[in-house]
């Protein structure tokens, strides 16, 4: 079994062995990453390691979801 096949509870404990950035770098890049995502550009190619960090860090994942949701709200208001 490799880490991609793990159930969610074990994945949270073990994480993945994919390269990832840390919380500070995630915050530094988050605005650019979300704008790339919303424009349909390959955000993970432009900013490698951020997606893996969001999988491992619930706090950064919440902030990513919120920024994305707020920009989507702005785009329709």
């Amino acid at each position: 079994m490799n880490s991609r096949d793990l159930d969610p509870a074990l994945l949270r404990l073990l994480g993945t062995d994919e390269p990832e950035i840390d919380c500070d770098e995630c915050f530094a890049q988050l605005d650019r990453y979300v704008e790339l995502e919303l424009s349909g550009a390959p955000a993970d190619t432009h900013i490698p390691g951020l997606r893996a960090h969001l999988v491992g860090c619930p706090a950064c994942a919440e902030e990513h979801e919120s920024l994305r949701a707020l920009l989507e709200l702005d785009s329709v208001s």
């Binding site: 074990l10 840390d22 919380c23 530094a28 706090a59 920024l67």
Partner: protein
């Protein structure tokens, strides 16, 4: 204590300011700067209110007025951060998106800390076996059961006490990492690095037991 408001009026959020270059006036002096700072504050308050009301389910004891006070505090702190770090803005996103993230960070941290303010956290690394651990169900096959046992063994033997403390609190107890950082006198980035190292050690232990392939 005020009754919880189950239907806060989030539609009352201010309209999003536009995309013009008003933020350049944050570097100016006098009235132009004051107007730009007021504009910035409105933008940050919009984002902070958005975040606080989005997460209001974790704060059922707070009224709409108390939630709004939390958002106001977050917007004020975010404004100070943005003004302090104006030189970091490189134009790789719009200024609005760049500023929003500061308000969302401040608001989400305040919400998480408030939600956990009166909750106990298992900070003694040797008490981790008292923490509920959702192991394999009764129908799990032998391989899955052995994998879970290898993970438990790894938590017990492969980690330092500090790594065990952080992994158990964040992953098994669901303690937000910034709440844990505050209680341990550390910071989010340092604790995440510790969590990352703990996971790597745990994966190596489980892989050495033959239950996990490293890719």
């Amino acid at each position: 204590m005020a009754a919880p408001d189950t239907n806060p009026d989030v539609s009352a959020l201010a309209a999003a300011p536009g995309l013009e270059d008003w933020h350049l006036d944050l570097h100016a002096k006098g009235t132009r700067r004051e107007e730009a700072v007021a504009h910035l504050h409105a933008l940050l308050l919009r984002a902070a209110r958005f975040e606080v009301f989005r997460r209001r389910g974790s704060l059922p004891q707070l009224s709409s007025a108390e939630l709004d006070e939390l958002a106001q505090d977050a917007a004020g702190d975010a404004a100070m951060s943005v003004l302090r770090r104006l030189g970091d803005f490189r134009g790789e996103s719009t200024f609005r998106t760049w500023a929003y993230k500061f308000a969302l960070l401040e608001a989400s941290v305040k919400v998480r800390r408030r939600a956990w303010r009166d909750r106990e956290v298992t900070l003694e690394p040797e008490r981790w076996e008292e923490v509920p651990y959702s192991g394999p169900g009764p129908d799990a096959d032998a391989e899955t059961a052995a994998l879970h046992e290898a993970v438990r063994g790894g938590i017990r033997t492969a980690l330092t006490p500090r790594q065990r403390q952080v992994l158990v609190a964040v992953v098994l107890e669901g303690v937000p990492i910034d709440v844990l950082a505050e209680r341990l006198g550390s910071n989010r980035n340092a604790l995440y690095k510790m969590l990352h190292d703990a996971r790597r050690r745990l994966r190596a232990h489980v892989a050495a037991s033959g239950y996990l392939e490293e890719t």
